[in-house]
């Protein structure tokens, strides 16, 4: 193409400046709705600048100008072709009552697998302890060393001890919330390694619970155990299962079974679901942290029925919420057009 470069640049530069000014305006005020005339002008300028870029790309010496134009075209392209669905305001109530439970149900099989892996680990832990009690110390991690002592001894000590509401309860609660949320996120992201570590994490956590449950029940401390674990466990364990569910969804995406689309497209399909699941799990863990710190550690036998009752109510409410909340009523065939 024969082009008088100086003349071309002199003629086109005002359009490039105008396009840049428009882009700056749009980027600084993303919520602004342009008028029809403005949108038309934007589109015209985009086409014009794109056409200029194509013309200049043939000139080897104009690298700086080409880079400058590419930058403008890239910004304009982003502005014109991006979906703006997420510009809609986030509605917490709608998310809580529809999005989260519906997303949970959509990946119900992954949840069942996650829960199954955990309880399989629990069964394994209980069976191992039943066969050889000496293994208890090997299964309990160092941070839970207080669980190594004989349950009846601990129960007697805990039931005698008073409850000090100001004794580091907030700190303990915060530690629980952040640690459990981190573990849940970890369970999700390790799904990227084809789910191997998600399964291992779930199984290992299951072993610890299985060992503790077997230990306390065989020592005749079943009521203490239920009153201790159920109030917060009714939210904490489902949250960990949901983390595992998200991890298994990631793992399935990595394998790509039953689809012929590419990895990045598969991830694009599940991204918002992953966020919803992890957000829901985090909410459950916040409540579980508060309950574990302020209620679960209060070991007065007089309160056991209340604690067990609360835990049971929470568990039933959570099951009902996740199973039925946000279900759309099925239309009868007569109403279908």
């Amino acid at each position: 193409m024969i082009l008088d470069l100086d003349k071309f640049l002199r003629k086109e530069w005002p359009f490039w400046d105008e396009m840049e000014a428009l882009l700056r305006l749009e980027e600084n005020q993303p919520d602004r709705r342009p008028s029809l005339e403005e949108a038309r002008r934007f589109h015209y300028l985009y086409q014009r600048v794109s056409s200029d870029l194509v013309k200049l790309q043939t000139f080897a010496g104009e690298t700086e100008t080409v880079a400058f134009l590419e930058r403008i075209v890239a910004r304009a392209y982003r502005s014109l072709h991006s979906e703006n669905r997420e510009k809609l305001p986030f509605r917490p109530w709608g998310w809580l009552t529809r999005t989260f439970p519906a997303t949970f149900r959509r990946h119900g099989l992954a949840f069942a697998l996650s829960m199954g892996t955990f309880w399989l680990g629990a069964g394994f832990g209980a069976a191992a302890l039943g066969l050889n009690y000496e293994l208890k110390g090997d299964f309990i991690p160092p941070q839970f060393s207080h669980l190594n002592e004989k349950p009846s001894k601990r129960v007697a000590r805990e039931e005698e001890r008073g409850f000090d509401a100001f004794e580091g309860r907030n700190t303990f609660s915060a530690q629980l919330m952040t640690h459990n949320t981190k573990v849940t996120i970890m369970t999700m992201v390790t799904g990227f390694l084809w789910g191997i570590f998600t399964v291992i994490l779930l199984f290992y956590n299951g072993i610890i619970i299985g060992v503790v449950m077997f230990d306390y029940i065989t020592d005749g401390q079943g009521v203490f155990l239920t009153a201790w674990l159920l109030p917060h466990g009714s939210f904490e364990l489902p949250a960990i299962f949901i983390g595992g569910q998200a991890g298994l969804v990631v793992a399935r995406t990595m394998f790509g079974w039953g689809t012929n689309i590419r990895l990045h497209q598969r991830f694009a399909l599940i991204r918002s679901d992953l966020l919803t699941l992890i957000g829901g799990a985090a909410l459950l863990l916040i409540w579980a942290g508060v309950v574990e710190s302020f209620l679960s550690q209060y070991h007065s036998p007089a309160f056991y029925p209340w604690k067990i009752g609360l835990g049971a109510v929470q568990l039933v409410a959570l099951i009902l919420y996740l199973s039925f909340c946000g279900r759309r009523p099925r239309r009868s065939p007569a109403t279908l057009v």
Partner: protein, 211 residues
């Protein structure tokens, strides 16, 4: 492998293609170091504020204990939120940049050249927990950066993003600025006056010349 692709080429539906230069792992490391320093500074600042607040109220019998406990609990939560939320908040509010990326002139973009969505920003930052493994050495993320064509860490692959270098704003060479162009006309975007470029009037051969 690294170096196989140094730029992202996007082909628009209009048939135009443009390139965006992909950031090198080294500049990304520097940006990350700056971000780490910012996070550390924020945490220390919060710790100081909460300590001062706690010390002011410790002499009051019951409130002192509650405030001391509450402030240490709050610090743990804020530390966690800053660690997880810093990248998410910055990249969402600054359109793909954190303080470190801004200083190193880097930007996170969608791998198709489109606008970043919140889910992408959040996922890429949550997956950082995987990228930093083992411990906090960033080994998995680093290996992934070196092995992938577009220098993507695992979080980038999951989020469908990549980090590009910002092209510096090109200053128009003075010699090419035409005095005949009215610079205000093209910028008047609010009134939508058409761009006026005063082109010289072509004279027919033989016609009298104008002064």
């Amino acid at each position: 492998m690294l170096g196989a692709t140094t730029s992202l080429e996007v082909q628009t539906p209009e048939g135009v293609s443009f390139r965006l230069p992909i950031a090198s792992p080294f500049s990304r490391c520097l940006a990350m170091a700056i971000d780490f320093a910012v996070i550390l500074a924020l945490t220390v600042l919060l710790f100081q504020i909460l300590s001062i607040l706690g010390n002011m109220l410790t002499h009051i019998p019951v409130i002192g204990r509650v405030v001391s406990d509450l402030s240490s609990g709050l610090l743990i939560i804020l530390q966690f939120l800053i660690g997880i939320g810093y990248g998410i908040a910055c990249e969402w509010l600054l359109r793909g940049q954190t303080v470190g990326k801004r200083m190193m002139k880097l930007r996170v973009i969608d791998e198709r050249g489109l606008t970043l969505r919140f889910s992408q920003v959040a996922i890429r930052n949550l997956f950082r927990l995987l990228d930093i493994l083992p411990s906090t050495f960033y080994l998995l993320g680093g290996i992934s950066c070196f092995l992938t064509k577009r220098c993507q860490r695992l979080g980038d692959i999951a989020a469908g993003t990549l980090v590009v270098r910002e092209v510096p704003r090109f200053v128009r060479p003075r010699s090419r600025a035409s005095p005949r162009v009215d610079p205000t006309a093209s910028r008047d975007i609010l009134t939508w006056r058409p761009v006026s470029v005063k082109t010289p009037v072509r004279q027919k051969p033989g016609s009298p010349s104008t002064p």
